[in-house]
């Protein structure tokens, strides 16, 4: 026997396992969602920090004037985690082409420098080296680990191969990592500090140990660690977490409210036999405590599990590609998530507890007493009646008969729909921000001009067709896209093709009169695509069609309908089209090759100020045949220009000269053939000697991996959010049916068929669904706009109404509603009519 009235709590929960489990599922999902968001953010933050460490090293401060005294002070400083010295040797030339420097490192310095081993190990002895593989190839193609490599007059034992970095490849300056000699006086001392609240203060203290000019900071890493989470994202995060917390409260509130409504007669009875309102509230809050004690730990475990599950999914889907974000579980996220869960549960349970405490004892006595004397409006359900007949009329009257039940049901659907629309909008906008994946991310190698070779400016070096043919013939090559230098034009368009946002940003459009007409002038960058590039770019077409022959015959061009324009007023980037040009429109182009005065690698943006002479004789007309929704390949022109794509044929006509490719972007059949392909291509391009091969497999792999991770995470969130929504709807609708068993039994007694009952209930569900979806869509759209405003702090984009999300939410609600009533309907079918009519509880 129970020893106190409070144990009624436990008895209720045990006797209503399904209801209890459903409520627990809601709590678990919500807590899991909150905690996994927290873990994800922490992991992302760590990933960003790790990314900085990978690129720039994990040191915070570096001193170039090093003596024993400084070393001692640094080593004995309690705020320093680790310190080490390295030194750079003299510059060396390899095979007359590539520059390299010895880097003498100590064991501690290696931990602080951004070197990553691909194979082997770091050098431990003075005659051992580790090299980037691209440099190794230049030194000795046949070199193997453990073997000897010769640089100038020095011989080293090759002990490790480092990952290639894009920066060193493009700059053409390699690093020969070896172990330092104490005799080297040009030491640099690196130090990593403890990361805590006093990081900046400690850093300033350490700066004082040497003169300003001899001190360097790793500003990239410090920015990440000091700031914590980027401020621009805080706005978005606040909205997201606010919505999740609100949804958690709403879902749990709903579950408690349903459980109280289900037991309203029992509470009435308890009141009748002398339970005080306070005692009833305690019973409800005790239920909340119990559910919290079980639900929150399970929710946290699920959050952790979800993080690792996503990591595993990522590894499987990414096929063993590098994991960009390591899952990170931290105590603070666990505590905060648990607190959020506890607060949400108690806040949610409070109202139902108060409601339960106010239940009149009369409710227990007879069902007659539950019909309050009130002005009940006679409702005419015209629409429902007209479409669905009497069943529709009855369904429409039924749902509004009990205002509380109606509000609870509609509210739960509103929550579910709002959650889904908001999170999907967040997902779509995030993917917009993060994923600019295009065909360039599938490129494995690039052949570009070696601007140091033969003293030529890189602009004049082109690739011979014979080299391109030879590369194309290699068995491991899947496709090679020709790349051309960008060409600059003045472009004149009709005034009605201007975009308001661009007008507001300013600096893009100029007014111009052409043939006595007011038109708009903008700068244009023209890029040439070869046939293979055009073919692969077809899937980026937003409107129009692309066809090389048509482009050639009609002087056709393709516009890229997405630019990145920096807005000085908002200090943010705007992403969107800079014109409203469509297929069929015409553009007037005049060459502007004098636009940039450039000397080798120094590009000065010296625009021609003053009036632009748009000379009729130099003007050529082109026709827009298609618009791309974004860049099919990374754009090599100016981002804020009108971005034009055309064929070599058309470009030669516009420029009046022959054009040859300046680069080649190569995709191999299998990334596993990397070394074979690299060797073969290097052999082919070694003949002219003025070309070099850049290996971008690693960089693209990491970019794709990061984007895939974000996609999986975001989809995961949307799925969990949808599940919470489903639990909510199922809970509400099934309870509605269970509470009305007697009513349905009575209807069946007077002759309603099973089919007729199913029709009424289904229609009720649909009507709830429609009403809830309408309100939920409005609120969800409002939240999506709030998120858009928040995300604009990260990156400006155009706002689109989440119509697809609304459609999915409405259809989903109907479907879930329909499915959730099937089980109770089946059970009711088996019930004895007489028993059901008599049933009180």
């Amino acid at each position: 026997m129970i020893s106190g009235y409070k144990e009624i709590t436990w008895k209720y929960l045990k006797n209503n396992k399904k209801r209890t489990i459903l409520t627990l599922v809601g709590i678990v999902l919500s807590v899991a969602l909150v905690s996994s968001i927290g873990f994800f953010l922490k992991s992302m933050q760590e990933a960003q920090i790790q990314d900085m460490k990978n690129n720039f090293g994990s040191w915070h401060i570096a001193y170039t004037k090093v003596d024993d005294d400084l070393i001692t002070k640094i080593k004995s400083n309690p705020n320093i985690l680790i310190s080490g010295t390295y030194a750079e040797g003299e510059e060396m030339t390899i095979n007359g082409m590539v520059k390299a420097k010895e880097v003498f490192v100590t064991e501690d310095a290696l931990k602080l420098l951004p070197y990553k081993l691909k194979e082997g190990k770091f050098p431990e002895k003075e005659d051992e080296v580790a090299l980037e593989s691209w440099l190794l190839y230049k030194i000795d193609k046949d070199a193997k680990l453990g073997g000897i490599v010769k640089v100038e007059n020095k011989k080293y034992k090759l002990i490790g191969i480092l990952n290639d970095t894009t920066t060193s490849q493009i700059s053409g300056e390699g690093q020969i990592v070896t172990v330092g000699s104490d005799e080297n006086n040009n030491k640099i001392l690196l130090a990593e500090l403890q990361v805590n609240k006093r990081l900046w203060e400690n850093l300033q203290e350490l700066r004082k140990l040497s003169d300003d000019k001899s001190v360097m900071e790793n500003s990239n890493l410090l920015a990440m660690q000091g700031e914590g989470f980027p401020k621009q994202l805080l706005g978005v995060l606040t909205v997201i977490i606010g919505i999740v917390v609100f949804a958690t409260i709403a879902v749990i509130y709903n579950a408690f409210q349903i459980s109280v409504v289900e037991r309203v007669k029992q509470f009435g009875l308890l009141r009748a036999v002398g339970t005080t309102p306070k005692q009833i509230r305690k019973i409800i809050l005790r239920e909340a405590t119990f559910l919290a004690l079980i639900g929150i730990p399970i929710g946290l475990c699920c959050g952790i599990g979800a993080l690792y599950g996503i990591d595993l999914a990522f590894k499987i889907i990414g096929k063993g590609q590098l994991v960009f974000i390591q899952p990170k579980i931290t105590i603070d996220v666990l505590i905060i998530s648990a607190l959020v869960g506890v607060i949400s549960i108690y806040v949610s349970a409070m109202l139902p507890a108060i409601f339960a405490g106010r239940i009149s004892p009369l409710v227990a006595i007879s069902s007659r007493s539950s019909i309050a004397k009130e002005n009940i409006k006679k409702r005419k359900s015209l629409i429902a009646g007209r479409i669905f007949g009497f069943a529709g009329t009855l369904a429409s009257k039924n749902i509004k008969r009990n205002r509380k039940r109606y509000r609870t049901t509609v509210f739960s659907i509103i929550i579910s729909v709002t959650l889904f629309i908001t999170f999907k909008a967040f997902m779509d906008m995030s993917l917009n921000v993060y994923s600019e994946i295009n065909e360039s991310s599938n490129i494995h190698f690039s052949v570009i001009a070696d601007n140091k070779a033969n003293g030529n400016s890189s602009k004049n070096i082109t690739i011979d067709e014979k080299i391109i043919d030879n590369i194309n013939k290699l068995p491991e090559i899947e496709v090679a896209y020709k790349e051309y230098n960008p060409y600059y034009f003045y472009a004149v368009i009709d005034k009605d093709k201007e975009v308001d946002t661009i007008k507001n940003i300013g600096g893009i459009y100029k007014e111009i009169k052409y043939k006595d007409q007011n038109k708009t002038l903008a700068n244009a960058s023209l890029i040439i695509y070869d046939d293979k590039s055009l073919q692969v770019a077809e899937r980026y077409v937003k409107e129009g069609t692309i066809n090389a022959e048509k482009l050639n015959s009609e002087d056709g061009v393709i516009i890229i309908g997405k630019n990145r324009v920096y807005n000085e007023k908002t200090e943010n980037n705007f992403y969107g089209p800079i014109t409203g040009l469509k297929a069929g429109d015409e553009i007037l182009l005049q060459s502007n090759e004098e636009r940039f005065s450039n000397i080798d690698d120094k590009i000065q943006y010296g625009e021609n100020e003053g009036k632009v002479q748009f000379r009729e004789k130099d003007v050529k007309k082109v026709k827009v045949l298609a618009v791309f929704d974004r860049d099919p390949f990374d754009f090599v022109g100016i981002e804020k220009d009108l971005k034009i794509i055309t064929t070599k044929n058309v470009a030669e006509k516009l420029l009046g000269k022959d054009i040859k490719p300046s680069g080649l972007n190569i995709k191999i059949k299998d990334a596993g053939l990397e070394n074979v392909a690299k060797n073969h291509i290097e052999n082919i391009i070694s003949v002219p000697g003025d070309l070099k091969l850049i290996n971008i497999i690693e960089r693209n792999r990491m970019t794709k991996a990061a984007i895939l991770m974000v996609k999986i995470l975001l989809f995961g969130f949307v799925i969990v959010v949808s599940l919470i929504g489903c639990v909510n709807i199922i809970n509400t609708l099934t309870t509605n049916l269970i509470l009305r068993k007697r009513e349905f039994a009575a209807l069946k007694c007077i002759g309603l068929t099973e089919k007729g009952l199913k029709k009424i209930i289904t229609l009720e569900g649909m009507l709830y669904g429609i009403v809830g979806s309408i309100y939920g869509s409005i609120i969800g759209t409002a939240f999506s706009y709030l998120i858009y405003r928040g995300m604009n702090g990260v990156r400006e984009q155009t706002y689109n109404l989440p119509l697809d999300s609304i459609a999915i939410a409405i259809v989903g609600t109907m479907l879930i509603g329909y499915i959730s009533i099937q089980a109770p309907l089946k059970r009711m079918k088996k019930d004895n009519l007489i028993d059901a009519v008599r049933e009180e509880f």
Binding site: K11, T275, S360, S366
Partner: protein, 226 residues
Amino acid sequence: MEILKIQGLKKIYGKEGNKVEALKGVDLTINKGEFVAVVGASGSGKSTLLHLLGGLDRPSEGKVIIDGEDIYKYKEEKLAIFRRRKIGFIFQFFNLLPVLDVEENIALPALLDNDKVDKEYLAEIIKLLGLEERKHHLPSELSGGQQQRVSIGRALLNKPSIILADEPTGNLDSSTSKEVIELLRFSAKKYNQTLILITHDINIASSADRVITIMDGRIVSDKYLK
């Protein structure tokens, strides 16, 4: 000795344009130990009267004085405690908590008081009610008569001054009805409790000490039979 006094009791439901006067000013005095039957047609106001006597609802006007105290001066908390200790309710539809077994349902008023249940007395009641073999059964495992006996047990546990029964046999067959009424009379006599019972059954009414007839919210007849 006077146990219950009602003065000018009125109960009005609804608002302007939709008013229903369930009780139109009732005056009544009941002595301790009396067995009073309240009869009347459906909608006459007898259930409303019983609810107001038991503090289940608040009157629109008038007083209910039990054991010398105007119970409607109490706030909600105190009224609930009053109901728990002074009144024993028996409803037509049993109204047991489905999650508690027989023993626990009977002990409920004591459990609400956070009191240790007098196990001996509980056992006595269970025996009196003939429920020994069912004491660990849930309400769903009991017949209608057994359930009503449990609700009687619950009403008796705290030895209340007044037992209010609203058509306690309305849902039972005739032989069970007889049993239940006998039980009520027996325990009321044994513990010197006042029993006020609403019934449609003439036989039950005629077994009472006093019969009060209510019509249209007023007492139209008040006869002592014994």
